[in-house]
């Protein structure tokens, strides 16, 4: 299997200008790689820097040093830490998805449209996008009477499932998952696990942050632990 993502010596330092240039270290000299269809799991205490690594890969954070080499279909090998914003936007639309613990959607967009618009971004026509979005919402057991509602009224679990539906419907080549099971009951975890396994079979590579070690064991191929900004191989309890 070929390498789709290679993180080399990634470091992130936040400088707070209003607290006398105070420095906060997010992560330091992080190295790892992800192969096609591989699921990499990261665990660690909160504040250890797990989300920082994911956000650097998605470029929501601007990495301070290091390289994030992504094997893109659109652009070939590209360093996500340095590449043009325009290219990052295209990669986000077509190749890379991000699911956080929090639903971050535009106001006044219905659940159905949240998912359908994800496909329209990729150039899918309206009718087909809506059809596929409905299938996806059904799969993630979001009740039909909520499809035309605004997600800000949803429960934590419903928001998370909607978030997953929106990211997974694109079948991105690389999917970043920040605690994908955080607010799910055991019954809802089933479809999420199934979907992850199915995406893996179809070649999607994933990086996931977990506190739920049980769930993680069933889906990951390689696991890492983060502690005080450093990444180590294996699970350290």
């Amino acid at each position: 299997m070929s390498v789709i993502l290679q993180v080399e010596n990634l470091g992130k330092v936040f400088i707070m200008h209003h607290f006398n240039q105070k420095k906060i270290i997010g992560c330091r000299s992080v190295n790892f790689s992800v192969h096609e269809g591989e699921f990499v799991g990261i665990t660690g205490k909160s504040g250890a820097g797990k989300s920082t690594v994911l956000k650097c890969i998605y470029r929501t954070y601007l990495p301070t040093n290091g390289r994030i080499l992504f094997q893109s279909k659109l652009f070939g090998k590209i360093d996500l830490a340095r590449s043009a914003e325009q290219d990052i936007i295209s990669i986000r639309h077509h190749e890379m998805g991000y699911v956080s613990q929090f639903l971050n959607v535009l106001p006044r967009v219905t659940a159905l449209n949240v998912v359908a618009e994800a496909l329209m971004e990729m150039g899918c026509d309206n009718e087909r996008a809506v059809f596929q979005a409905k299938t996806m919402l059904r799969y993630f057991q979001i009740p039909e009477n909520l499809w035309d509602a605004y997600p800000n009224t949803f429960s934590g679990g419903e928001k998370l499932r909607l978030n997953l539906a929106r990211a997974m419907i694109k079948r991105p080549r690389l999917l970043l998952l920040d605690e994908p099971t955080a607010s799910l009951d055991n019954q809802s975890k089933g479809p999420v696990k199934e979907m992850i396994l199915e995406l893996k079979r179809s070649g999607t590579s994933m990086i996931g942050i977990f506190h739920d070690i049980e769930f993680m064991k069933d889906v990951v191929d390689t696991s890492y632990t983060m502690n005080q900004g450093y990444l180590k191989e294996g699970i350290v309890a």
Partner: protein
């Protein structure tokens, strides 16, 4: 793979290079002695105001780019310079759909400038009184823009006006009423329909929701999003409000004292602001 190629070969629709606008006599040191590092846009040597200093950026086809900053940072001067409402002191502006993007728009004749503005651009001002003739009917306002863009068939103009007004949800019964009699939100929607009349490749929006009720703000923002989705128009959105910028844009420039202090993906600028001023703006959000 044809789409892939298009993605990588995207040319900017608009290129702005080193645009400066100085009010006053201006001296050699104006640009050097002003800006965020000096915490002022007034030249201490000659007293000129540097509203915009050496601004450069690209706007790509179909994207919405945001310009954010406090009042007096130069945002509106920048956008008005692009629409030829202001004459920049120096700089270059290229529009891909005008002479293949090879001619500096700031150097062409005023007749050609008028043509570019009437055929290739639309603008929506914060103050509807700037964008609309309040004593012309709504239909008349749209007709004015269409006439300027060489539409001469009255029937077609009328049809297009109806189409546009229903797009922005102005009841057609009110098409012949004067915008003066409309609410602020309705005036703004008429202004948007007028700006869109000639199907411009580039739409400039200057603080279009400032001063409106929140529910009306929401309507206008949803309308802009809908227009972008349907027509794929390239837009520059100027606002002092990060909530507006977050809702509409993929990329953002942050301005202070007439300079761009930071630019990046909108989510990056908001979650990981680099410049002290951007951090202050983000920390000031309510």
């Amino acid at each position: 793979m044809s789409r892939d190629l298009q993605e990588t070969e995207k040319q900017p629709l608009l290129k702005v290079r080193n645009l400066s606008k100085i009010y006053g006599s201006s001296c050699k040191s104006c640009l050097e002695l002003t800006g965020p590092d000096m915490e002022s846009n007034i030249c201490p040597r000659c007293g000129s105001v540097v509203a915009c200093g050496n601004i450069s950026f690209n706007v790509y086809p179909g994207e919405i780019i945001g310009i954010v900053g406090e009042s007096g940072s130069g945002k509106s001067t920048l956008i008005k310079s692009l629409y030829f409402d202001e004459t920049p002191t120096s700089g270059e502006v290229y529009l891909q759909c005008f002479e293949n993007g090879e001619t500096n728009l700031l150097s062409i004749s005023s007749q050609k400038k008028r043509w570019v503005r009437n055929h290739l651009m639309g603008i929506v001002y914060q103050n509807p009184y700037l964008g609309l003739k309040m004593d012309f009917s709504c239909g008349g306002n749209i007709a004015e823009k269409l006439l300027a863009a060489d539409w001469y068939h009255v029937g077609k103009i009328r049809k297009r006006a109806k189409e546009l007004l229903s797009k922005v949800e102005i009841p057609l019964e009110r098409m012949d009423d004067l915008p003066r009699t409309f609410s602020g939100g309705m005036q703004q929607r008429v202004q948007i329909s007028k700006a869109l009349a000639n199907n411009p490749p580039l739409l400039l929006l200057d603080e279009v929701t400032t001063g409106l009720d929140v529910s009306v703000q929401a309507q206008i923002l949803d309308l802009i999003r809908q227009i972008q989705r349907e027509f794929g128009i390239t837009m520059i959105v100027v606002s002092h409000d990060f909530a507006v910028i977050r809702m509409l844009t993929d990329r953002t420039l942050v301005m202070k004292n007439g300079r761009v202090v930071e630019s990046g993906l909108t989510d990056q600028v908001m979650e990981d602001p680099q410049h002290p001023y951007t951090q202050l703006l983000i920390n000031s959000m309510i």
